[in-house]
């Protein structure tokens, strides 16, 4: 058995078995509680730079399937689990998890008392960590870890965003949706394409002019990794888009940027929300939904309650944090969680419908703006 180490910023050490190449990797350690959807987590750009601990005991049982990745590559910095299953039983064209990790050059550490690790993080809060399967002295590993910057203040969208604008779908579709890609998950794009939409995906550093020139009917500000606070340029861009009365939908990091653009504050959570069982209440309908969440930062509730232009629409039922809001006088709304699921429940799919409804309303206000949906939908 190849030994591997998990070293936490506070000096705590766990040993386990190395799965994948001989390497050392550093990131913020966090845990996810989903019992399904490991592949979606590995490839979710919002997990960029993070070492993910799975609380679910068996990982790899159903292999890896091409269609289920949320981006073109593995985005996590490393992975820690209890049982890493070499064998899987899926008949659909797929590869095994170990093969996938080897191919992607990512290290996983298995045979760890993950419950102990999770309880430790729960008590001590988010922190950096290092995993290594190389035979390096502990002091050297500690030195490497010490150099790793804190997630707080770290803008990471540029690392995972597309570098060039691209489009998806048919140009002749009824709606033109511009997506500001800060690390967008594939299923957000797929969810938009389920509607009669032509999607333009813009890089993190796109300008207002570039986006406006494409003449979008609505804007989606995507999810993404890291601290929203340093993303001043993007917040500025979002503010300008909103000022132009552009129907805007923000997801996760996008939600935080919309909040920042309106003068709200964000903060780093002691432990983030990561899992697919997060209960959220829609305050407008009184209905509850079980949601997929993955965030380590949140919008300050106090700052939102003080701000007259903002209305809190959704709250997280476990800790009363803000899960969604809308602007009172603009066609803008956003959620802290993931209506596109993948992984997780589809209870919040209605938000996409709501987005297109908002676009229709907005178009109807303009001269000649009634939408003719194409038949193919």
């Amino acid at each position: 058995m190849n030994k591997a180490i998990v070293l936490l910023e506070d000096g705590t050490i766990f040993y386990g078995k190395a799965e994948g190449p001989a390497m050392t990797s550093v990131g913020e350690i966090c845990f996810t509680t989903g019992m399904t959807g490991y592949q979606e987590v590995f490839t979710d750009p919002s997990y960029f730079n993070q070492i993910v601990v799975a609380t679910n005991t068996h990982i790899g049982n159903y292999g890896i399937h091409r269609d289920e990745s949320q981006s073109g590559s593995v985005k996590i910095a490393g992975f820690v689990c209890r049982n890493f299953n070499e064998q899987h039983s899926r008949v659909r064209e797929s590869e095994s998890l170990p093969d996938f990790f080897r191919r992607e050059g990512i290290l996983a550490v298995s045979e760890v008392d993950t419950r102990k690790l999770v309880r430790h993080i729960r008590e001590k809060g988010a922190m950096n960590a290092l995993i290594s399967s190389e035979d390096k002295p502990l002091e050297e590993l500690k030195a490497i870890l010490a150099k790793a910057p804190s997630m707080k203040g770290m803008g990471l969208a540029s690392e995972v965003s597309t570098q060039k604008m691209y489009t998806l779908g048919d140009e002749n579709r009824a709606y033109r949706i511009a997506v500001l890609d800060l690390g967008v998950k594939r299923n957000i794009l797929d969810s938009l394409l389920k509607y009669d939409a032509y999607v333009g995906v813009f890089p993190h550093n796109a300008s207002l002019e570039e986006i406006a020139a494409w003449k979008p009917d609505g804007i989606l500000i995507s999810n993404g990794p890291g601290d929203p606070e340093p993303l001043h340029e993007q917040a500025e861009l979002v503010k300008k888009l909103i000022d132009q009365e552009m129907p805007t939908f923000g997801i996760c990091l996008g939600h935080q940027l919309i909040s920042l653009s309106q003068g709200l504050e964000t903060f780093k959570m002691f432990n983030g929300h990561r899992g697919i069982n997060h209960p959220v209440k829609n305050l407008l309908t009184g209905r509850c939904e079980v949601t997929s969440q993955n965030h380590g930062f949140a919008v300050s509730r106090e700052s939102a309650e003080k701000n007259g232009s903002v209305e809190i629409t959704h709250i997280h039922l476990n800790d009363d944090t803000i899960a969604g809001l809308r602007l009172r006088n603009k066609p803008v709304f956003s959620v802290q969680y993931h209506p596109e699921a993948s992984p997780g429940p589809n209870d919040s799919e209605y938000l996409f419908e709501q987005f297109f409804e908002l676009i229709r309303e907005n178009k109807a206000k303009k001269p000649g703006g009634k939408v003719e949906e194409s038949a193919e939908r």
Partner: protein, 938 residues
């Protein structure tokens, strides 16, 4: 929308006597519901005819009615109490049926009673296959292809179209009778004929059987507002074709991708919302194709609390019945808290950081001639659940919990080696297929053959194969040279020290010592609903082999109560009743109470029962490690039936205090020779007997004793392998049979007191004084197991002389055995002489019955006596004696059509009911008294 303020008083309907398919889980749900409603300040009235339940106890409900589950009983209750609402979703199909019957008769309307927690429309849709099918088609939920056929020719055409296997169900017959699964072409014609003939309208429904598809269950909760949460996903290890109650099941689902799981989740929500508007629990079953399409079809939906929801509650920690009751009152999920964490929302989907495996417990040995092949008809009588940090560990622990004389899966020298037998078992699943899969791998049968024969998902098969490989590695070493890593791996994968000892050819204690020296120690982890995301207020514990131990020893004085393991014939819910009362009594005495049990159906494994619950096998190794960790003042073994009792010897050997009657007294009562000497010394008559170890000795002995003879192995439960023989030939045959099943076992031969009357007495003894709590007289003459006979409390035709003798003997024997706690003595009365047949110094099957009939907490009293907190004379006994209470045995023979209904010394009943009569002129009494010889085998 908070709770409905108009509801101040609720009637809960129980599920009646235990039968196969409707067991202890409904006592768990019913008692949880009652407590949940009482928390809300609601007056709870309960009806159930099953006396051996916690739900029908003063500790649970305000008003209790031990009446037959009939509309007349409901009317009686409604006349005596102002009831605002009835909650029928906690008592299985029995309660639902009764509620619907009352609705049809207009009873609820007449008394202004609201039905809560169910929607009768929903029940109708889910019970009627055709309506259900239409509804599913309407909302676009696929089901297995199905067609009706009105003629033989039509049927053959449908068969042609669907291909085999097929399920044929006659229309409009009850309980699926006349239905069958057709695997082979040769069987099609006869099955069609049979089905058409069985149907009153000459019509059959033919379903394409999706045999081999993967099977799943989702447990849901839904509130009035339409909010839905999935509490648990359960995957069946056995694919479609075996009733889910007879399947080994695993949670969480192991082989489902998120994509397919979410599709299933969406379907379940759509289904539950389509069948009506109700607030409560619901179970939905699905099947998934085992090919690349991962096609999902719906099987059925049950809009009530079920066996699976009890399992899901124990598997996740989320108390489904408790929350479902509050939802029925009108609460919304988001208005309630998760009771385990204490401060997060009940609108929550539990997440597991462990695996649970449930294995059913069968009792085919009690049903001679029963078809042992598993299929659509449930046949198991109980279940055990193992929890571990991997599937393999959970599987091993579940196997260790079964009490079938195995030490887990494999590594005990009991494997089959006959290839043909194994292959046949793989294809035609019986109760022991799991063990035969292991044997098949061990024998070197190829993976693909095993897969093709069983159609079990390769992931599960691979897990078992890995265990066999590990075993192969271990066996190459000895205790002295086994590498630490390998030993650790074996422990992590759930192997018991006994199994490892078998592989290393040494003693269990040596393995134990070695692994402790190496620091390979059991730690305890929490079941907390949330995979450690939040701190938990009321978690429970399971053991594993990892780094961190989360079970903090409190420093208080503690008492451990050993549970009774999986239910089986002869050891059912009565023992769980006693365990729960033992826990409550010890709590009252100021002790911290610790429960150890592995039966997910029970109240004893409800986390609110004991101060601390270890959900662990009632298996020596696990118990010993818990004892070493918790350091209790002692262990109570006399409440958990034979399961707990048989651990007394080891506890005694390891110097652990047994609370109440000592091991030596327990052993003396079991040892026929020494016990008879004791009777002799005390001048107590007993039937002439002898003990032998061979057929030859038996025949010799028979000449001394004379026929008829009662022959049985010593140290068994529920009259296992007990038989009355009338000649030498039969005697020899039976002795050989027993020795074949239990080599080396001592065999007892008693002179059978033919035609004798049987009676039994239960008593509490503190070593000085004896109080007889009740004497029951059997209606049938000797020859029928006490568990299977009708019995009357108090005796109905024993003279004063006999009763005085019974009382005197009971006191004498209880004191002679130095009983501290409960004792049950069985008598045979012939020619005015009272003979002692046996004495059991422990809680018996009849104690709960007497406690209910006389309305006194006898187990509570006995526990306080055991703990030395009270003497018998400290209690003010005030039994409510009014008329007679008849114990009615209930059988599940309808599940085994092929088995003869003959009764004998081997127990066969699965449950019991209580029936009160005012006097002996009662018609019911006359009927059963008149039929007392009807089913007698000898």
């Amino acid at each position: 929308m908070p709770k409905d303020q108009s509801i101040k008083s609720v009637l809960i309907i129980g599920s009646g006597p235990i039968i196969i398919g409707q067991a202890a889980e409904f006592d768990y749900s019913g008692s949880q519901a009652a407590r949940s409603l009482k928390e809300e300040g609601i007056e709870v009235t309960l009806i159930n005819s099953n006396p051996a339940t916690i739900m029908t106890d003063k500790v649970t409900a305000d008003n209790i009615y031990l009446l037959p589950l009939e509309p007349a009983s409901i009317v009686q209750i409604l006349k005596e109490h102002q009831i605002d609402a009835v909650l029928p979703s906690m008592g299985g199909q029995t309660a639902l049926n009764l509620a619907i019957k009352c609705q049809e008769q207009g009873i609820w309307e007449e008394y202004g009673v609201k039905m809560i927690g169910v929607d009768t429309n929903a029940i109708e849709i889910t019970e009627d296959r055709e309506l259900f099918r239409q509804k599913m088609a309407e909302i676009g939920i696929p089901m297995a292809p199905s067609k009706t056929a009105k003629s033989f020719l039509e049927g053959k055409e449908v068969a042609q179209e669907f291909g085999l296997p097929l399920v044929i169900r006659p229309s409009f017959t009850l309980g699926g009778s006349g239905g069958s699964v057709v695997y082979d072409k040769e069987d099609l014609e006869s099955a069609l004929q049979r089905g058409l003939q069985a149907s009153p309208i000459h019509e059959v429904m033919i379903d394409k059987a999706v045999i081999g598809w993967k099977e799943y269950e989702l447990e849901l909760l839904r509130d009035r507002n339409g909010n839905v949460v999935i509490i648990c996903s359960i995957e069946n290890f056995d694919p479609m074709g075996i009733h889910t109650g007879d399947s080994i099941t695993v949670a969480p689902a192991m082989t489902l991708s998120d994509t397919t799981f979410q599709k299933m989740r969406n379907m379940a929500i759509k289904m539950i919302r389509s069948i009506g508007n109700f607030a409560g629990g619901c179970n939905v079953q699905f099947s998934v194709s085992n090919d690349e399409k991962e096609e999902i079809i719906a099987i059925e939906i049950n809009p009530r609390v079920s066996r699976s929801s009890a399992l899901a509650s124990k598997a996740t920690g989320y108390p489904i019945a408790k929350i479902a009751s509050k939802l029925a009152l009108g609460y919304m999920l988001d208005e309630l808290k998760n009771p385990v964490t204490g401060n997060t929302s009940a609108m929550f989907e539990p997440t597991l950081d462990y695996v649970i495996v449930k294995i059913p417990r069968w009792n085919f040995d009690k049903f001679k001639g029963a078809n042992r092949r598993l299929g659509f008809q449930m046949k198991s009588v109980g279940e055990a659940m193992g929890i571990g940090r991997s599937f393999q560990e959970a599987l091993q622990k579940a196997c260790q919990s079964l009490e079938i004389g195995r030490n887990g899966l494999g590594a005990d020298g009991k494997e089959l080696t006959d290839q043909n037998v194994i292959l046949d078992s793989l294809k035609h699943p019986g109760w022991d297929r799991l063990f035969h899969i292991y044997d098949a791998f061990k024998l070197g049968i190829s993976f693909s053959t095993i897969h093709k024969s069983t159609l079990i998902d390769p992931w599960f098969l691979r897990q078992i194969q890995e265990l066999v490989e590990l075993e192969g590695e271990i066996v190459q070493y000895t205790l002295d040279n086994i590498p630490e890593g390998l030993l650790r791996e074996a422990k992590k994968k759930g192997y018991a020290d006994r199994q490892i000892a078998h592989l290393l050819r040494c003693l269990e204690s040596q393995v134990y010592e070695k692994r402790n020296k190496l620091g390979i120690k059991r730690v305890f982890k929490q079941v907390d609903t949330c995979a450690a995301e939040f701190p938990a207020e009321t978690p429970y514990y399971y053991s594993t082999f990892e780094e961190e131990n989360e079970s903090v020893q409190s420093g208080r004085e503690k008492v451990i109560i050993l549970g009774s393991g999986p239910n089986r014939i002869g050891q059912g819910i009565e023992f769980d009743y006693s365990c729960v009362h033992g826990v409550l009594a010890a709590k009252e005495c100021g002790y911290e109470t610790i429960m150890i049990n592995c039966n997910p159906e029970t109240v004893s494994t409800d986390f609110t029962t004991a101060d601390k619950l270890y959900f662990e096998p009632v298996f020596w190794e696990h118990i010993y490690d818990i004892i070493l960790h918790e350091k209790p003042i002692g262990v109570i073994v006399q409440l958990g039936g034979q399961t707990a009792l048989k651990l007394a010897e080891k506890l005694d050997k390891y110097g652990i205090k047994i609370i109440g009657t000592s091991y030596h007294a327990l052993d003396l009562a079991e040892d026929r020779g020494r016990f008879s000497s004791l009777l002799k010394e005390n001048e107590v008559p007993y039937p002439k007997f002898g003990s032998v170890k061979s057929a030859e000795a038996a025949v010799k002995m028979s000449r001394e004793l004379g026929f008829p003879l009662l022959v049985r192995p010593s140290y068994v439960l529920g009259g296992q392998s007990m038989k009355i023989v009338i000649n030498e030939e039969e005697l020899e045959q039976h002795v050989v049979n027993i020795l074949h099943q239990m080599p080396g076992n001592e065999i007892l031969i008693d002179n059978f007191l033919s035609g004798a009357i049987e009676a039994e007495a239960d008593a509490i003894c503190d070593g000085e004084d004896v109080y007889i709590i009740g004497i029951m007289e059997h209606i049938e003459p000797a020859g029928i197991h006490s568990g299977d006979s009708y019995a009357v409390l108090p005796p109905f035709n024993l003279g004063d002389l006999i009763l005085t003798q019974i009382e005197e003997i009971t006191k004498k024997v209880a004191l002679a055995l130095n009983t501290v706690g409960l004792i049950n003595i069985q008598f045979a009365i012939k020619d005015d002489v009272v003979y002692v047949i046996e004495a059991n110094p422990r809680a018996s099957r009849t104690v709960p019955f007497i406690a209910k009939a006389y309305q006194e907490p006898y187990v509570n009293y006995a526990t306080k006596v055991m703990l030395g907190h009270k003497k018998v004379k400290d209690f003010d006994f005030k039994p409510v004696k009014k008329g007679y209470a008849i114990k009615v045995p209930v059988f599940s023979f309808d599940k085994f059509h092929e088995v003869s209904k003959e009764l004998g010394p081997e127990m066969k009943s699965t449950g019991e009911a209580i029936h009160f009569i005012d006097n002996l002129k009662d018609e019911y009494f006359h009927k059963i008294y008149g039929e007392r010889n009807l089913y007698l085998s000898r």
